[in-house]
Symmetry: C2
Subunit: 467 residues, 2 copies
């Protein structure tokens, strides 16, 4: 009764697929014929992302590795390095590079090159925003799982870890490039700066998966990663203005330091007040989503504010989670955020993997070789510079210093931002840019399994707080 | 210590906000300075949407009306009719019409008019896709709550209700416009066709809120709404080709009828097989999201397929929910889909409200008056044409016929698609277009409270199935 070939024949013969007058509902407005195709592209991308994340995550689990590593690798498999099912409109990538576009073109009939480009760009932009919403929800969840009191307790240790973890790789990286590789000062400083900021997303996800987020080590790592994210933004402002004008824009740097401190301290102080308001509101509401909607609204407002004062949106989401963790709604909220995180967070990790172009690692390409040698140096500095931070922790007998150091290793998205800006502003040449990208990829992929090994050495448990 | 005025002064004096060289990380690529602003715009829009949906929903609840009505009204309040906090790049709306853009402009510093337009269009597009994902999740949830066996049982009654509910208002509307208003035939047919398709989203949401989704009446309404959505798409294809060429494109119509039937029957048949596969897969998976990710992937694939063969994506999502309802994972899945629906579904209803421009209802504007008279006629036909469908149900003693009729009244998005296409293709003049929009708005807003009243007359309960 149901014959696939006949169906496909009918489909391709149908005037519906020939464009023009037989697609009457597709002529409503200038770009109305693109709207259903953009939706199709987004749905297809999400399915591909979910497939990659589950295949990768489950395989990782089978190999006794953290699932997030598998999600990253799954992203690599469908991304710019391999299948091209998930590529983004950036760095010269066009619609023709996407393996999904022919499918949309088949569905849409005779699409102009212009339409395809516009559909590709829209879909790419939407998946990117969904991925950013994913990391916002992730940090909100991490904030909910973190304990403000415990974070304050480990506060000065986290600051030490963060500062050493920024200064050491920055200094060693810059000096090494100048002295060993005889590079000019400005590009060296830029590459050194790219070694500074830990990717809090990857580290905190692995900690959570291993069940060590609420250990003393876990809280120091998360606190330090938050602080060095802020430090990284300040370093970026410094080196970028240095690269542009040859001098440091003091006002800008002071502004960033001031706004970042004011934001974090202010949100926690205001949070104590907001806590009460939140509980009162949630108790009053009667309709569906009475807990999750006010909570997410708060997270999104905080993310917006952080973004608005040129910090990162994820800092705001983390602060929001930290604040709401202090309420008695925490448990119920935790439970409701889980499925939301389950569907949004994988989009982030798969996207990170998909954007990493591993072709820069191919030593068979001669022009990659110089970059690979520099990359090897940067990776060593990046790892040692963060590993040593564990030994800055004092007054915590029996703490797993190695685990803290390993937790600070993955660089992730901030490092890629450095590479992108450096390349666009002409400060970084091709080999150095490739070396930074390689460093980011390697530290990102090596950290999850290493962290699992490191925590085999144990951790200091934190008792559950009274409330 | 913390002074708001000083902070704002610092903010506006800061070189960060002046654009150009002091915004070093915003120069990475051509549109890299837009990316954080698009994210800001999306976050802000979501917060506004959540605020409107909760305020409206809770107020509705207090007044003993269905919450979804309040979400629609909340959307109207923040949308094109009033506050302009949520407007979309369509029908001549530009960035300057959005009340959110000045905020983004303040954050972004000196943005070019081109940048603002591009940010506005991106944000508008992303919220629209999120709203479509919202209605996809809604119909998936409704599918999960519906019972395939029960739907099959009421199948022929649903078909009767759907067919009468399409033919009656179509015939009466077209005849009335020609005979009473002396309108030309083609526009009359077009307006008559706009009276056909029930908005399944609104009706099913209200039924679910009232707890009558699993009554016999509820299942007949949902089944009929699904069928008349398909009929509506076919009618649209017919009248649009009629309007364009003066004749009906038979191949196109046959293709639509064939593909729609094949899709619904095929997905249910294949679904019986997929059920087993789904349970096996979900049982094998070990990592987070092991249930919700395969389920959503299935829903998105089905939505994509429906969209690809030029049906509506929501039909695919409904079929997916119906299929997964048959598995023993249903209860757990139901629970996990709730928070996801809670955050996505309100985006859809608020967007529907925000897009409805109530200024066409203002009788003080002389050019609205002709439209209002026609609108009054269309509304009467739209209501009576659907109300009578309840009396087509046979062999169900004691069934609440009035409730079935009322359940078919709201027209929603499909009616607006008719108005948009009719206007763009020049078939509809301004008064007739305004009349159709008014009819859609009124039937949409009148149905939820009316449905509550109608179900006061009781309903036939369905016992829970054995599995």
């Amino acid at each position: 009764m149901w014959d696939m070939n006949t169906f496909i024949d009918t489909l391709s013969m149908s005037p519906l697929l020939q464009g023009g007058i037989s697609q009457p509902w597709l002529i409503a407005a200038a770009n109305a014929d693109e709207a259903p195709l953009i939706l199709s592209g987004v749905l297809l991308s999400l399915v591909v992302i979910y497939l990659a994340s589950k295949l990768g995550g489950e395989l990782s689990q089978l190999l006794n590795l953290p699932p997030v590593l598998g999600e990253l690798v799954g992203g690599v498999a469908i991304g710019a390095s391999a299948l091209h099912l998930l590529v983004f409109a950036e760095g010269g990538t066009v619609a023709a590079d996407s393996a999904l576009m022919p499918i949309l073109q088949f569905i849409g009939g005779n699409l102009s090159a212009e339409s395809i480009t516009s559909i590709f760009e829209s879909q790419s932009e939407i998946i990117e925003i969904l991925s950013e919403l994913g990391v916002i929800i992730l940090l909100f969840e991490i904030g909910l799982e973190s304990d403000l009191r415990e974070l304050t307790e480990v506060g000065y240790q986290a600051v030490l870890v963060a500062v050493v973890g920024v200064v050491a790789p920055f200094a060693a990286g810059t000096a090494g490039l100048v002295l060993l590789f005889h590079m000019p000062t400005i590009p060296s400083i830029f590459a050194g700066a790219a070694l500074t900021a830990t990717s809090i997303g990857i580290t905190s996800k692995v900690l959570s998966e291993l069940g060590f987020l609420k250990s003393k080590e876990g809280q120091i790592i998360v606190g330090a990663a938050i602080i060095d994210d802020v430090l990284g933004i300040i370093v970026l402002a410094v080196v970028a203005s240095l690269a542009k004008t040859g001098e440091v824009d003091i006002v800008n740097v002071l502004y960033l330091i001031g706004s970042a401190s004011a934001f974090l301290v202010g949100s926690i102080l205001l949070g104590r007040f907001f806590n009460q308001a939140f509980v009162t509101i949630a108790d009053q509401l009667k309709t569906r989503g009475k807990l999750v909607i006010p909570a997410l609204s708060f997270a999104f407002i905080m993310a917006f504010l952080a973004n608005a004062i040129h910090l990162e949106a994820i800092l705001g989401a983390f602060a929001a989670g930290l604040v709401l963790d202090e309420t008695d709604k925490r448990k119920e909220l935790d439970k409701q955020v889980v499925p939301i995180a389950d569907i949004l967070v994988p989009i982030f990790f798969v996207t990170v993997g998909a954007k990493a172009d591993l072709s820069v690692l191919n030593p068979a390409v001669p022009e990659n070789r110089e970059g690979l040698v520099i990359a090897a140096f940067l990776i060593v500095v990046a790892m040692i510079g963060k590993l040593m931070t564990g030994w800055t922790v004092v007054g915590q007998p029996g703490i797993n210093r190695f685990a803290i150091g390993v937790g600070m290793i993955p660089r992730g998205e901030v490092g890629l931002v450095f590479a992108g800006i450096g390349s666009a502003s002409g400060v970084l040449d091709k080999p150095l840019e490739a070396a930074i990208i390689t460093m980011v990829i390697l530290t990102t992929f090596v950290a999850p399994p290493l962290l699992r090994v490191a925590f085999k050495g144990g951790a200091i448990a934190i008792e559950s707080p009274a409330n």
